[in-house]
Symmetry: D2
Subunit: 339 residues, 4 copies
Amino acid sequence: MINVGLIGYGYWGPNLARNFAEADGVRLTAVADGRADRRDAAGRRFPGVAACDDALSMIDRSDVDAVAIATPLETHFPLAKAALERGKHVLIEKPFAASKADAETLASLADARGLRLMVDHTFVYNGAVRRIRSLIDAGELGELLYLDSVRVNLGLLQHDSNVIWDLAVHDLSIMDFLIDARPVAVSADGTTAGGVGHENVAYVTVHFDGGFLAHFHVNWLAPVKIRQMLLGGRQRMLVYDDTQPSEKVRVYDKGVDVDRVDARDGEMRRQILISYRTGDMHAPTFDRREALALVVREFADAIAQHRAPLTDAAAGLRVVSLLEAADASLRAQGRRVAL
Amino acid sequence: MINVGLIGYGYWGPNLARNFAEADGVRLTAVADGRADRRDAAGRRFPGVAACDDALSMIDRSDVDAVAIATPLETHFPLAKAALERGKHVLIEKPFAASKADAETLASLADARGLRLMVDHTFVYNGAVRRIRSLIDAGELGELLYLDSVRVNLGLLQHDSNVIWDLAVHDLSIMDFLIDARPVAVSADGTTAGGVGHENVAYVTVHFDGGFLAHFHVNWLAPVKIRQMLLGGRQRMLVYDDTQPSEKVRVYDKGVDVDRVDARDGEMRRQILISYRTGDMHAPTFDRREALALVVREFADAIAQHRAPLTDAAAGLRVVSLLEAADASLRAQGRRVAL
Amino acid sequence: MINVGLIGYGYWGPNLARNFAEADGVRLTAVADGRADRRDAAGRRFPGVAACDDALSMIDRSDVDAVAIATPLETHFPLAKAALERGKHVLIEKPFAASKADAETLASLADARGLRLMVDHTFVYNGAVRRIRSLIDAGELGELLYLDSVRVNLGLLQHDSNVIWDLAVHDLSIMDFLIDARPVAVSADGTTAGGVGHENVAYVTVHFDGGFLAHFHVNWLAPVKIRQMLLGGRQRMLVYDDTQPSEKVRVYDKGVDVDRVDARDGEMRRQILISYRTGDMHAPTFDRREALALVVREFADAIAQHRAPLTDAAAGLRVVSLLEAADASLRAQGRRVAL
Amino acid sequence: MINVGLIGYGYWGPNLARNFAEADGVRLTAVADGRADRRDAAGRRFPGVAACDDALSMIDRSDVDAVAIATPLETHFPLAKAALERGKHVLIEKPFAASKADAETLASLADARGLRLMVDHTFVYNGAVRRIRSLIDAGELGELLYLDSVRVNLGLLQHDSNVIWDLAVHDLSIMDFLIDARPVAVSADGTTAGGVGHENVAYVTVHFDGGFLAHFHVNWLAPVKIRQMLLGGRQRMLVYDDTQPSEKVRVYDKGVDVDRVDARDGEMRRQILISYRTGDMHAPTFDRREALALVVREFADAIAQHRAPLTDAAAGLRVVSLLEAADASLRAQGRRVAL
């Protein structure tokens, strides 16, 4: 039985608490939050759990083997560092850390202590995303050509960072999971339209070795909610639309065939013959279980089995590197920033 | 009565021919195309019209007062120049010209000769687009914040240029019509995924004086057809979805209000209070007439009334400048190119 | 403070319990269910509430002023009768009763005892439905012409009755709330396709004084979930689509104008000139609060204020009369059954 | 070469004319219409074709081997009879005839003379409908359980008949093509809401041997255009939505399994165990050619090959029988009318 203490009972914390409470082999023993109203809420919802006002003393408790951190981004590093130094396994909400340097420090520390350090890239555990990965692995899409993602709606969840750290982090973690090619550079543009102090409309482009291109539109000022991802392959292409009640993943038997022939019509010496294939569409079913339950399961199993979790510190570091590069590009007028 | 000669009876030419044939005060007198099968098709469809194999001699005909050019991009300049030099009014398919220099030369020539020179930015005459312009003029949207456009599908129409010149030209001409602020720079990124020799997936960002941002996703490798534009205003926001059979324009009474207050909670000295308004949605009706009929009408009226057409050479030049800057940015790794 | 005892902690009971627990002026004091696992679940979720295995003894408790009944249909009558006889106010899940006779007996009993008797027609408290009622009241739709409703999906919730009693009861209660005209007859057809023993695909038609027609398609064998209602008025028409994440209610400025003129063309002596108007579409916002919270509020207020609730026994009786007539029509090959 | 004369150049006639003009082995030689403006339109569009003001003399022409009739319903019978009596093959627009008796007379006459008599049930030649038929033939859907069709929009095309003869005729012809079971009775209900003199909102139910049920909602007073058909099978279910730009046919691997077991729980002696299967969705591609071109092809081939066409007089008669029964049911308060 792994005893877990949760730090932060704001927006996401209650979801983590519920999943820890319901998982086998795990026990939620303590919740820490600086606000009394949240401690009260946690106490009512989970009567047997200790409600603490101080995170550090909660980390120290003997009935806490592992710590889950669901606090604002800037506190991830000090809290995770404290927990690792006290020998506790750590699960951190995304984004993993506020900088690449912090992420590396945490990874080294966990490594040195032999502790599990995991980032909650929730979408990696989503049934639709895992189904897409299995389609890629089975060669259904053929060579991957591009990924385009739109994640827009009205309203922001965080006001201490820009929309890239808040929304694109989801899509970058999905990309990190799906795409095996190596990203080499990031460019980003955006606007602080509406005057909220940091970018609330932004575009991020990730360039890969070999020509694969990924592009992300994230936006807190859109009148409609869009969660749509296109993934183009040479054999097939897919659309993942998370706002659909069903058929969220649609695989199109469409693609492009390119031939080069010598032409003799006097106009072009070499002609490119392009043909488009268009065939059936197929919407596969997938595991509908709550992704966060699988996150909690993976954390517990990684601890029990003394192995790295699927979304380990390295995954957190990769995504933070992309976010940091996007910020650098924003400050450099959209210039391409090497990773 | 204005006698019109049409050059090019390929993809778009027959549409122009039909609209010239049906318009009042205009007569289609001649069609020129280098291919015999196309001349035959034009002859069968328009029995009284002269079918010519040579564009230049057609331009010379005494029963040709004005020339419409619907040929590949690289021929726009020589054909338009020849027609203007022979004292004929000219309507050119978009893109207006292959370079800013060519566009300027044509504009000067028409100006010197007192001839009408017009570009067929068809979407400017589209009822939905004109309705959006009237909503902006009426102040319904408030201060404009950003424009985001997606125009993607499977298959290319042109193989002599990249997807920006083929698809984004539509959206840039819409932007040129709708947005009064001055664009100052362009950046673009793309991929030749699939190996067709030029970019078939591309992203273009246009930066404006005052912070307004416009972004365009154009793509020949998408499994689904998307024609969606978001236009965010401080008062209201709209979605223009051209694939919808009805309610193509949807105006959302949604917006963002930002207040700055002095905060005394020890964490932030200045707090930004952001509130989102969300209200009714309204889908206005609009003129459903064929846009191209209005293009032909405007060309004839501008000639008859000795005035500049709505989409004059200056409009053509502005859009070509954007396209040229996008190409320059593509070649410079997405660097921002000043206009 | 009104003390409420809940009978039945199966599918719907937990929702009622949660809303009673959260409402002001109401206290959930007891839950009765014959199954131990459900009593345990209720006990864990609501620690201070008495979990009873016998409904009748729970009704007798001195700390139970009012009883909510969320049990299978055939038990509604005996349980409600027992509660009313013991002087307790009663809220019954829809359908109100298994027969018109039972419904009338309960209504008389409550009346004689001066007790509140309410049916949980949840949709009457739904913000979209109430918004539609206010549009009708404001004359926005003009004279009402017809109502068409489709409520289909895969899978049944109840297996002790046909799909009409399970699904159409929702739509009939909405109709009862929206339409002031008097229904005069019902016809119904259906099929037991798939062999489940009672109708799982059915169509119900309700005929009104004055020509208004209402029609309902309910279906447990549909591969897609549809929740769509058309309401046609002479001035405007609306679509209520409950599966949409937003813009659930759409009001179309569309209608039909009919004129009769004397024609002299030798073919018809009297010509009907019909013109269709088509204008803007408008999607009004509405109250998004949980309908069941308002049901509980109304029950408590009706008790406190000694007044009839909005969905009183008479409403329950009207809907049960329609259901009973539909069953009679089913057994009579779809013959029209007078109400 | 088969020489065809077309009677009626109103709404549908020009489509027939175009397809006859473009088909191999067929020549459009004459068009008859009582209105001069329509004859002029036909003459301009088809210069070499004789434009006649009298249908009967056109039928008599020696350069007319076959006659296509696209006139108002009440003239179908006299025109077709005259043509058959003069030894000409006949293609008639749907509905085939205004009564079952007329339809039978025409069928007998064609049979006696050895002439081809065909009805233009266009949807039977539609690629989506033929794809559905092939899915049924391949056993993909399993035993068929029900068909539900909705065909609604604003505005009527015909004002000399009710909405059933105008719209349901399409769906009944599709049903006639898809469903092999024998229809045994029809019931119908409707309203003349809006006061146009005949039903403009109607519901038709067709009962089959063996329990299969088909239901049709047709409506000229709907604010939105819906063209949706559900076809439920025991193995799979499909949705055919003709308003979708793509994926019009969607096959759901969903179904219902029913088992009967002896239960011993004291409540039910026999328990029905129902389980729902839910799996992938598949949208097959299909032939996108214009259906009417295939209608013309089939007419020409049937003549050339001396064989019955796919939609022969018998098909026309079956659909007219259903329409006539629906009218009888409308006049009898929705009573079930045997076929």
